[in-house]
Symmetry: C2
């Protein structure tokens, strides 16, 4: 199953790239620049492609991102600290992001005669991001089957859709993912901040999985106060 | 129903923009540059927005288009003359184009609190383009309902999906669409060539609808030899 992996450079999608290389055939990685402030992660995606010896394509969607303003990830709004609570996570919603990225990835996969597109959506994101839920994954696959018709069949592979982030850390640990070579923090500073929603989630995931977290955090103890 | 119209500057989508302004509320027009050779049409889309007094956004997807190579619309392959037969039309397929354009348009519509996205897919394209068929339109709507979830509801409006191009000409004629201000030809020269698949289809549509065709063709009689 020759598979194109949508890879942000984050922990989940880098683990997915390694998993695809182990169990399937890695066709390449594709990243998206929609003007997010955590652009640092794109460098980690490219480094992952080099490490795994596959192609890397960066899709410039900054002009699309500019029209989808209102998200703290693409605008001047402050990225909220603390847990991914409903109110603070809503600030990080980029409207229709996964549908846009997957549609482009399916076009590329179809042009390259790949068999599948893989995306690292996971259970921890269900409660706030509708486009990370199993219903979306199933509906997207049905839409693509109709869209490509007789021009080819491309499967949407989302093996983490029912997993927690801690389970992804367990999977990654088992297959030797170099977690220090992944980026999560929404703030995009020199180190992970340790305080934003995604840093808190990352630290909890390593803790819950009983896996040593190799990440450098500016504030490595903040999250413990939230438990 | 405040509606964002996907408008290429062609006959079908310009007619759609006029129809939406007449029957609903026109939120704006959005065009896509995926490196197609008939870029002239984009100027006609922008002129339509000016004429109808709405916003116009051009989305630059040229780097996506470059990765979807193999289509005569974006590459150096010759655009075939004559009827839209299966073999020649396949050369004009840009993989997943409608899914990509609609996903972006739904993101913009959602960010702007619009009620709908309109697209001018029509029955004449069913036999070769899977992403112009009713099954695709229905599956895309279901996918978007899942993707946007509780963040909003945007309807996909495709009023021409069961119409022929001649019927679109009839509708446009009734509501006063200035057809000379629309562009179809895939070759993108000074005038419509009159010979490519879309020029042949355009001339047949006016003829079948018994509407005078105001278009300047370099070869205005070629198509009659094909009937």
């Amino acid at each position: 199953m020759k598979t194109l992996v949508v890879c942000s450079g984050g922990l989940d999608s880098v683990t997915l790239a390694h998993l695809v290389q182990k169990n399937h055939e890695l066709g390449g990685l594709v990243s998206f620049d929609y003007g997010q402030r955590h652009q640092k992660e794109i460098g980690y995606a490219e480094a992952t492609a080099e490490r795994l010896g596959c192609s890397f394509d960066l899709i410039d969607l900054r002009n699309v991102g500019a029209l989808l303003s209102g998200s703290a990830l693409t605008s001047d709004l402050d990225v909220p600290d603390g847990h991914y609570e409903a109110e603070s996570m809503k600030l990080t919603v980029v409207p229709n992001r996964n549908a846009i990225m997957l549609s482009v990835a399916f076009g590329i996969a179809s042009a390259r005669d790949h068999d599948a597109v893989a995306i690292a959506v996971h259970g921890g994101d269900h409660f706030i991001y509708p486009d990370c839920r199993p219903e979306f994954i199933e509906a997207f696959q049905r839409m693509q089957t109709a869209a490509l018709g007789e021009f080819g069949s491309v499967t949407l592979y989302a093996p983490f859709v029912e997993m927690s982030k801690a389970e992804i850390v367990s999977v990654g640990s088992r297959i030797g993912v170099p977690f220090a070579e992944t980026w999560s923090c929404y703030k995009g500073l020199a180190n992970h901040c340790g305080r934003c929603g995604t840093c808190v989630e990352r630290q909890e995931a390593f803790s819950d999985a009983n896996v040593i977290d190799p990440t450098q955090y500016d504030d490595p103890s903040f999250w413990r106060g939230l438990v």
